[in-house]
């Protein structure tokens, strides 16, 4: 058996706060794919939530996380698209912009750290594509999800800004669709697939935020998908946890189960719904579990 690849698991804040099912399922499926997750000691918030208030704070917070990875000589993998884009952006900026690196390093010096630019950070999806490979994933499928139709939601930060993401076409994203296809499920096209879930402004203007998520659920309902698949804890909160509120606000019923990709893949690998924490989803996903 090929040697496993080691990645530092950067959990971020949203997953341990409210979306444990994503972590539970990721920790089940990744070892099967030859990925060894190493716990990341004393990491902190990636910095994205406070970027609107102060960009330098974001750079310093994410740089500190990158420094920890540099010290451990391991690349980072995140399950959250927001953490991924922030760590990737800071890493790229500080590698390319000497002046900015010096500014950030002047802050890091106060905590005895220095950004050197020797590590990299990836989102789960990018890691699955580039470090695991589709053939390897295919070889782990025990129970293909034939007959299941789903709709993908990649999430903005998986795809944009293109300068930071760069491994998929944000206008017509394919990677998550390919990954879904490997499980045997059919991924349906729908209108405005790459649109935002609205989560980032929920605390600023709930009306706009829920309207965005509602429109998306509506488009997915129109094509008759049995479930939605996400790869970001924030997008997941919007469509799963907030779904009942959206139904109430717009007087429309969806009852659309929202699975993390790692849950979908786990089902196809033969894990039980309980092992993948399907019960923790707000919208009942037992129908999906029974299909497998």
């Amino acid at each position: 058996m090929a040697e496993s690849k080691k990645f530092l698991m950067f959990l971020g804040c949203t997953i341990p706060y409210r979306v444990a099912s994503y972590e539970v399922s990721a920790r089940k499926v990744l070892p099967k794919l030859g990925i060894e997750l190493v716990e990341m000691p004393d990491f902190n918030c990636c910095g994205l939530p406070v970027d609107p208030a102060n960009h330098e704070t974001t750079l310093a917070l994410s740089a500190r996380n990158l420094c920890i990875a540099e010290q451990m000589k391991l690349p980072i993998v995140t399950l959250c698209t927001g953490c991924a884009t922030t760590l990737r952006k800071t890493n790229k900026l500080l590698k390319e912009d000497k002046e900015l690196r010096e500014t950030v390093n002047s802050y890091l010096k106060a905590i005895d750290m220095e950004f050197k630019g020797t590590t990299e950070a990836k989102h789960l999806v990018q890691m699955l594509k580039e470090d695991v490979g589709y053939d390897k994933i295919k070889s782990t499928i025990q129970r293909p999800l034939t007959g299941l139709t789903v709709a993908e939601h990649s999430g903005c930060h998986l795809l944009r800004p293109t300068k930071v993401a760069g491994y998929d076409d944000p206008e017509n994203p394919q990677t998550l669709k390919d990954l879904i296809g490997l499980t045997g499920a059919t991924c349906l096209d729908y209108i405005d697939e790459p649109e935002c879930c609205g989560y980032t402004v929920v605390a600023i203007d709930e009306k706009v935020s829920l309207a965005l998520a509602h429109e998306k659920l509506h488009h997915i309902k129109d094509v008759g998908a049995q479930a939605m698949v996400t790869v970001c804890p924030s997008c997941h909160l919007m469509f799963d946890m907030q779904q009942a509120r959206i139904e109430k606000a717009f007087n429309e019923t969806f009852k659309l189960p929202v699975l993390h990709y790692t849950q979908l893949l786990g089902l196809a690998m033969g894990f039980t719904p309980d092992e993948l924490a399907l019960k923790e989803l707000r919208v009942d996903a037992s129908k999906i579990a029974n299909l497998t």
Binding site: D42, P52, A110, I111, C156, R160, C196, V208
Partner: protein, 179 residues
Amino acid sequence: MCGALTEKSTETSSKNVDTARVDPAFKREVMNEHDGETLKKCFQCGTCTSSCPTARFSDCYRPRTVLRMAQLGLRNKVLSSSALWLCTACFTCTDRCPQGVEVASVLRVLRNLAVKKGVVPQVFIELNSSINDTGYAYRIPDIRHRKRAEAGLPPLPKANCKDVSKLLELTCKGKIPKK
């Protein structure tokens, strides 16, 4: 959700630009900030607004308008506008801009400048305070830690609050009020 965020703002609903309130130096201030440089390239085509998810559902948020106001030097009107905070940071505007304007980043620079001026939506005070005290953006309750153990998840690492707090102190420079 439209209008000004602070009582201090004296802008009225007048559609005419009050020239006394135009500050020609404002655009330089924006362009001097990291990521603000591309403001000068905007030629008002409106691709950003037509691509913006928020603009479709908000009565007041129009990225093109905000950029034009910034170019014109309407400092107070821009920085006290509550609409400024409605950007979802999806970066569709940035990716689609035919002029290479980093639209989402210019808007972020404007929000950062608003914070410097003292306009800070409550949610950012909460987030900053939680990061300062716990290392995490949210205060993770004990029940979550217990549930992690029950689910067989490894314990969450304890953040190095001393170092995180130091970074916040150095970068915020007192601009974000403590909770």
